[in-house]
Subunit: 364 residues, 4 copies
């Protein structure tokens, strides 16, 4: 149900923002993969709050512990339980939200669904839930990199109304992405984006943005043909992230404007395999990878929790004014970069393992 994902590489996350801790159980990871906390921590550090001026100043070391599933630095094929303690709670910050649901936040819908909700910090709707995803995603990425030669790199391509130039197809590295605090590889755009975020923060407002992700080295044949097309499971994964509003694969909404004669990707021989001249398909045809880079974009809304006064209603429908307290990111996209990468890795590793199933028969 809700807190698990994947068919073979199966991830279950747990934890609210203000309970003892958050984490994940990864079941179905193949045995004999070299794995220690050091393989997981770097992506958690990229996700962590308090990295720079553009993020919340909640202070969390977010150090991960592997509880089970490995011995002597090698996976056993058994469930890998991952845990990160919660430390820096300030429940008091949430006092005025007890009777007033934050607009465009999950306070109201959780209350309607469950009849109860975590008293502070957003509970399960908090971005802290994504810690388990990023930790699990780091394991998935290691499998993809070490065993399949797949590389995943995401970056910020827009903040508010500021767009970066196109970087698709430029073999961008994570170091290049991390060269700016905003995780946009173009220095000029990054500076404008950073200024916009600082201004939004000062105005106690927030900004949205767009993350672009490229998955290189995926062989042809991954993904399923009908309900679980690869673009469908990627869309599912991305729209399952807090604050996302849209997903595009390849040409996306712009593709709907083009005639077929311009949009089709003609085939051509590339390094002893069939490739395509253009990549409007975004690396997927009929739900199955075609060997070209998989490229997609994810829209993130501006964070709902803002310090500005908002006219709204309390749970009883009485008009009121809300000024949110608590420590919140004025713009989530820089921290969303490793989270998008993690979700892409979870989708791809499961597709790789599901496809592994069929190969003995194809070969024979």
């Amino acid at each position: 149900m809700s807190s698990s994902t994947g068919t073979i590489f199966r991830v279950t996350t747990f934890g609210e923002s203000h309970c003892k801790g958050v984490g994940a159980v990864v079941d179905g990871c193949p045995p004999q993969l070299e794995l220690t906390e050091a393989d997981i921590q770097p992506q958690l550090d990229r996700r962590r709050p308090g990295q720079s001026i553009v993020t919340t100043d909640r202070k969390e070391g977010d150090a991960v512990t592997i509880f089970s599933g490995t011995e002597n630095g090698v996976t056993l094929g058994t469930p890998i339980a991952l845990f990160v303690a919660n430390r820096d709670h300030r429940p008091g910050d949430y006092k005025n939200m007890r009777f007033v649901p934050r607009p465009s936040h999950a306070d109201y819908t959780y209350q309607m669904k469950y009849g109860v909700r975590a008293s502070s910090g957003g509970g399960r709707s908090s971005a802290r839930e994504t810690i388990g995803r990023v930790a699990a995603g780091a394991i998935a990425e290691k499998l993809l990199r070490d065993h399949h030669g797949v590389e995943i790199v995401a970056w910020v391509s827009a903040v508010g109304t500021i767009d970066a130039p196109e970087f698709i197809g430029q073999q961008l590295s994570r170091d290049q992405v991390d060269s700016t605090d905003i995780r946009c590889p173009d220095a000029d755009s990054a500076e404008q984006m950073l200024n916009a975020v600082v201004r939004a923060r000062e105005a106690r407002d927030s900004l949205g943005g767009i993350v672009t992700c490229e998955c290189r080295g995926v062989p042809a044949g991954w993904g399923e043909p009908v309900f679980d097309k690869l673009e469908a499971t990627l869309a599912h994964a991305m729209l399952s992230l807090p604050a996302t509003k849209g997903f595009e694969i390849g040409s996306g909404f712009a593709g709907a404007r083009m005639p077929g004669s311009a949009h089709n990707d003609p085939f051509v021989l590339k390094d002893h395999r069939l490739g395509t001249v253009s990549n409007y398909s975004g690396g997927i045809q009929g739900g199955i990878s075609n060997g070209e880079p998989i490229v997609f974009r994810v829209a993130f809304k501006p964070p709902a929790t803002i310090g500005l006064a908002q006219n709204t209603a309390d749970f009883d429908g009485e008009p009121t004014t809300l000024e949110a307290k608590g420590r919140h990111d004025p713009c989530v996209v820089p921290r969303a970069v490793p989270i998008v990468e993690a979700m892409a890795a979870l989708v791809l590793v499961d597709a790789a393992l599901c496809q592994g199933v069929r190969q003995p028969y194809i070969a024979s």
Copy 2:
């Protein structure tokens, strides 16, 4: 895996374009729902080829038979098997595609995945696969309408570069949508769209477009909070349709450009329940419905199979020119309307049934 969807209301489709027939098995439909073929046929008729000048002229009656799961016009709670025979095959049309994979089509990726593929008609990647979805969706819709008061209406909001005016929030009916062949409720836009499609057809080219969908009457509380957020399962469902390139919920990509102070949907009392003034959230907050209409948009690319000569390569990588034969839609969006509605219904009915699970405990 690939050909099933849903947790409680579980649909499995089967059938290639040129085998004996296509259909679906619906498991988990509640008992005692009144149901005959007459409840299912209308949406199949809206999906059927050969309806108008804008669709393929493949002739298929697409009459559905219920094999099992009902007696005396009432569901038994057991699997409902649905079947539609294939009749009008013309495998000869596909002869020149045997050695040449169609650009941006699934020929190449199916071959890479399975080492074999249906010799004609696209096999499982054909739009005929959606017959099973539409038939199952009609059952889901009946449950939603009769037991939950939910109404789902989709329409064509763009064809190529032509956009219709905004109809969200106008309580559009399916009759209004069907008032034009192109299924755009605005007569002027519809005429322009139709002309564009006719021109594309004459040029042996194709056009994409956008379908907007509104789900009215969904109560607050449906959907799951983490991996299976309602927008995530909707995105999954929509991107699982052939030819889709993008999905937006509520404000979508435009929402990424807005500041939080403008994007947030303030609460207000509406008819004894808490509603929102605006609906940038698209009816979902934190993955869970909030009682406002659920609104989303889906981008469809121009169909890949076109009559125009394309420079491409055959399976061996040899350069060649392809002129596709066969009968294909120059623009799929009019026929996509009932398919989008069907997939929305499948997602919502499953969310309704999953939420049903929890209520006894909330009440007690």
Copy 3:
């Protein structure tokens, strides 16, 4: 849910006893397997009613049609839909059961679960539901035999109080099993069993029995270690068959009586692999196959529908006497033999495919 089974090789059955027909959809069957109806029909013929004096005389040809998933006699990797029409209904036979639930039958529990039930023939609880299982199982068996060298043979080891001698480890063939109508390979026991069934039939009573099954050639390493231990999924599969009351793997209940020093299976070198001297484990240790034959036994109760007058109560609780009409087997175990084989095949093929997933990583 209820009508599907398997993780990778996923089978969904449909159909009541008296609807248009019964069948199954097999999703996840690997591509490029040679398959036609002729591979499936033989096991359906062994399951069919009216084969001999010991079975019901309902007349059904039970000829299977493959609707989809194959072309030119080869699987495409897409869902294989299988259909068998129902022909010889006699709803009138069930008239007196409309108000009186048959003791130890599913009439009462279906009514309580669904608030409605099929008016005749047992609906989904009828043995006709197993047609879809046997058809799907025949495909699974073909994969196991052709690609893994696995052979599955079941036989009747007891009818009522009559036990056959032990045949485990004797490389019994299906021809030997089918050498008697009762499907007990020992001629003397078979004659006694047959006489007992004939006497029960004459007395309008019924008899139970035990089926033993041996799966030879399963390599070490199939099965899962925790909730889905191979013996657990076998037990699940067998207890999902109508009329089953018990399941034993290897030593079974007798094993509970033995000391560990006698029950343990010591290892020994066998043909370049590690084997065991005895096989009290029944071929499975810790949920995972060990390379020895997998051996299990299934207890079937006497059929609940009998012609003898029974003092019972109607749906309103009023005392009444019931003499069941309709055509029913006095003893199901001969026809259960191919059904047990089918379910074993479904469990094993899924275990084989799930294990296939891991091997690329073990190898690297």
Copy 4:
């Protein structure tokens, strides 16, 4: 896959015998259930090693911590993560088993499946894995008891060749069961059983046994009709426990010996509901509960790890003699009692929640 079970009330366990700890994540537990560690600890204490002379003397407090999913002693509807630290490892005890797989243990099959295994303590095949099950089962039991009035009581009905008298239908309480160390409610049988276990222990041998379980108060209508019959999911759950060899529902294997006229359970009016005079069905008909107590029996083999010298072979097939060290139960059935109860609770709560889904439609 392997480490998860359940459709709605979904449990995932993790942890090896000698890693940092073991536990479970429970997803799908309804909100607003009162729950603290004090609800879970008692069953863990009944399962704990070192309780009496008949169990291993490994010393583990096995205190459980709830990491997430509750606030102020009430469930939030979010995943409940449960953790128990491992403390008393003695890896040295396992030294001589590094090269010699223990007969009838999982050492060999894990090695064949994964190509690697935990170096000591049995890893995931250790009985410590059942801690997560018992903890999750305690939550399931609370729901069943508080919201459905269901009571589950299991007891030891046989140890080796010693059988207790029949207690089914006697409304046995857990206190009565716990009145003897062996958890057999009959004092005379218990004394004989205890003596047998002490003798086995002195002989460095082991004994098997049988656990009987009765689930009272289950209403009619739980369970699924086809692949997931209630007896099938119970059999699955029980055979997923370490050391189990057989499962019987109701009359079990003895039922296969009876004629239908004696085996059928006639209906009779009981307290305004339809009940049955006898209960050979074991409370389930056609896979669905009928309102009578659900009764089943589980066979446990004698523990495989014994101190007696065994002639066997090492991993290379070389003959050798093994005398197992380490601390192991000479007979597991007393500690199996709460584990069987836990697994029954997990099966029943999931059936209750799945049935909850259908009721709104039945009512309308």
